[in-house]
């Protein structure tokens, strides 16, 4: 038997009821009523919109992971200790490490603030060390102190799509691989985010920026097509924001681009 959870929403309640009724002809359906919990995410209606929270999931994670919680932690990751594949510390229990990182990855559904830290730690799943474990525990401590933040999906916000994209060149100390990061907002609501290492080494920071820009653009265009498919229309074309002046300039000015490529070509052939 295969069981699946579905959310059905609409402005007209008779229409929603008709859909449920139709589904009932083909499948064995149980109507759970108004949405409260979905895939471990609590959904709370407020005056401003829907609040999504995984605080119960955090509580479960804390109860399963015994540790000293006395230390005050305000960020999920240390700025001073870069993580290395081989750092000289003792190997950690990889089964436990994978369990915790897996749980943290799931938390990323409502917590973009830990996305970067969790992605970094997930790169050591195959061979975790004591240092990696310490870093994982720091995220859990951070969550213990910040159990209640979540995402508020607001009704009243401008209907446009904005993506902020950034790359960290050669971010990985072991492999010199860069990181792509972007976050997309529908109005003021964050709806998609991404923090991951790039698939190949970029020899120049501009190359890393472009990889990131292309990935973010691709996701944004896809989200736009999804919105269109749902019969909705954006007020303006989607906007992509980057802080790399070169990258912005290239996209807007094809003439300038051809010069740049020509000038840089010998270095790309190295």
């Amino acid at each position: 038997m295969y069981v699946d959870d579905i959310i059905i929403t609409g402005n007209v309640s008779t229409f929603v009821a008709a859909i449920i009724n139709k589904l009932g002809h083909t499948f064995s359906v149980k109507d759970m009523g108004h949405l409260h919990f979905f895939l471990g995410i609590e959904v709370i209606p407020t005056a401003k919109g829907l609040f999504l929270s995984q605080h119960k999931y955090i509580r479960d994670l804390l109860s399963k992971t015994s540790m000293d919680m006395t230390k005050d932690i305000h960020t999920p990751m240390s700025t001073s200790t870069p993580l290395l594949l081989t750092d000289g510390s003792a190997p950690a229990d990889s089964t436990e490490y994978r369990r915790v990182i897996g749980a943290l990855q799931y938390l990323g559904l409502t917590r973009p603030d830990i996305a970067f830290a969790v992605n970094q730690l997930s790169q050591f799943m195959h061979k975790p060390t004591a240092c990696h474990w310490t870093a994982a525990k720091r995220i859990i401590r951070y969550l213990k102190q910040t159990m209640f933040p979540g995402i508020l999906i607001q009704q009243s916000s401008p209907f446009n799509l904005q993506t902020f994209v950034d790359a960290e060149w050669a971010a990985n100390t072991d492999t010199r691989v860069s990181t792509t990061a972007f976050i997309t907002f529908l109005g003021s609501n964050p709806i998609s985010w991404f923090a991951r290492k790039q698939r190949a080494v970029s020899r120049y920071s501009t190359e890393a920026e472009f990889r990131a820009l292309a990935a973010a653009t691709s996701e944004t265009v896809w989200l736009h097509s999804l919105i269109t498919e749902l019969g909705l229309h954006l007020q303006n074309p989607p906007q992509v924001f980057c802080d790399n002046i070169g990258a912005t300039h290239f996209s807007l000015n094809p003439v300038q681009h051809s010069h740049e490529t020509y000038r840089n070509r010998p270095s790309f052939c190295s």
């Binding site: 059905i8 359906v29 759970m32 960020t75 603030d113």
Partner: protein
């Protein structure tokens, strides 16, 4: 063709067709910064609230848990016959 050129043409093509716009944002307003590197406390907390991570303490306590008329959202559990 090198990857960088493909990436470039892909984005430029969409810009020229008017499907997207690419804009410059000041480094301080770069919201994706939170997803690229570990940040010091102040910057981290500023960006965290800017990207829409909202403190739900009061909501979860139920103080302002007013159920208002939202579009009906229904949760279904569907299963196919064995």
């Amino acid at each position: 063709m090198k990857h960088i050129e493909i990436d470039l043409l892909f984005v430029r093509d969409l810009v020229q067709k008017g499907r997207i716009t690419v804009n410059h944002v000041h480094t301080l307003d770069q919201l994706a910064d939170l997803l690229t590197k570990p940040l010091p406390r102040h910057r981290f907390q500023t960006l965290r609230s800017k990207i829409g991570v909202t403190d739900g303490t009061s909501i979860l306590r139920g103080h302002i848990r007013k159920v208002i008329t939202l579009p009906q959202i229904t949760h279904l559990t569907a299963s196919t016959p064995p």
